[in-house]
């Protein structure tokens, strides 16, 4: 099965996942990955990710189908953490394997840009003065808009 989409409730090592994924797709010449991790910042003690199961995993699965329909990939992996995360822990891992480099890069980039609109996660940060919800970012809208002009040729 070329698509590996998971919600994960415990810490994981992206490197092991990337190596296993690369080994599973030996016909692919290129593997692009993106890891998002909890930034180590002063006064951020923890990050909590909540989701709504009936929407979140179907959203990620639909995104996977969309990505596979847009680029000729050998494989695609989308893993997203839920629950309580500590600084420096990975939050999200996207890996795309393809025969050609550009397809792998674009697929991973597109998946990351769309993960936030197609998968539903709410995040709050624990600081010394308590918990704070993280708001939507304007940059996310700009990132998404890139793909509407020229259809992936960016």
């Amino acid at each position: 099965m070329p698509v590996d989409i998971r919600l994960i409730d415990a810490a994981f090592a992206p490197g092991s996942a990337i190596d296993a994924f690369a080994a599973a797709h030996p016909q692919a010449g290129g593997i692009a990955s993106f890891t998002g991790q909890v930034r180590v910042e002063e006064d951020v003690l923890a990050l909590e990710l909540s989701h709504y199961a009936p929407l979140t995993l179907p959203g990620m699965t639909a995104l996977g189908d969309d990505v596979l329909a847009r680029w000729p990939l050998a494989g695609l992996l989308i893993w997203h953490r839920t629950g309580l995360l500590h600084p420096a822990e990975p939050i999200v891992l996207v890996v795309a394997a393809a025969r050609h480099r550009r397809d792998a890069f674009q697929a991973a980039d597109y998946a990351m840009d769309h993960l936030k609109s197609d998968a539903w996660f709410w995040k709050r940060e624990q600081r010394s003065d308590g918990w704070h919800w993280i708001e939507p970012r304007e940059q996310d809208h700009a990132d998404l808009a890139r793909w509407r002009v020229g259809d992936g040729a960016a």
Partner: protein, 79 residues
């Protein structure tokens, strides 16, 4: 009964992640069952509703029956 599921900051504002309401439930009934501050937020353009896991294109057309789950979804967090 109908189960309301509050996500993100709405769970905090509702005082818990879920609440039970008697069936049936429509948009006016939902707003009426919430306190004023929460109802105003739910009514805003930024909050979406899902009925049994399906997003409603127009949340004011909500029609929930006994056993249904209605999720109240604030904007997702940036990254």
């Amino acid at each position: 009964m109908i189960t309301l599921v509050f996500l993100g900051r709405l769970a905090e504002q509702a005082g818990g992640p879920t609440r039970q309401l008697p069936a049936p439930l429509d948009w006016a009934g939902l707003l009426g069952a919430l306190d004023t501050g929460l109802a105003a937020q739910v009514a805003s353009d930024r909050v979406r509703l899902a009925l049994n896991g399906g997003l409603l294109a127009d949340k004011t057309q909500l029609r929930a029956e006994a056993g249904d789950e209605v999720a109240l979804l604030p904007p997702v967090s940036g990254g």
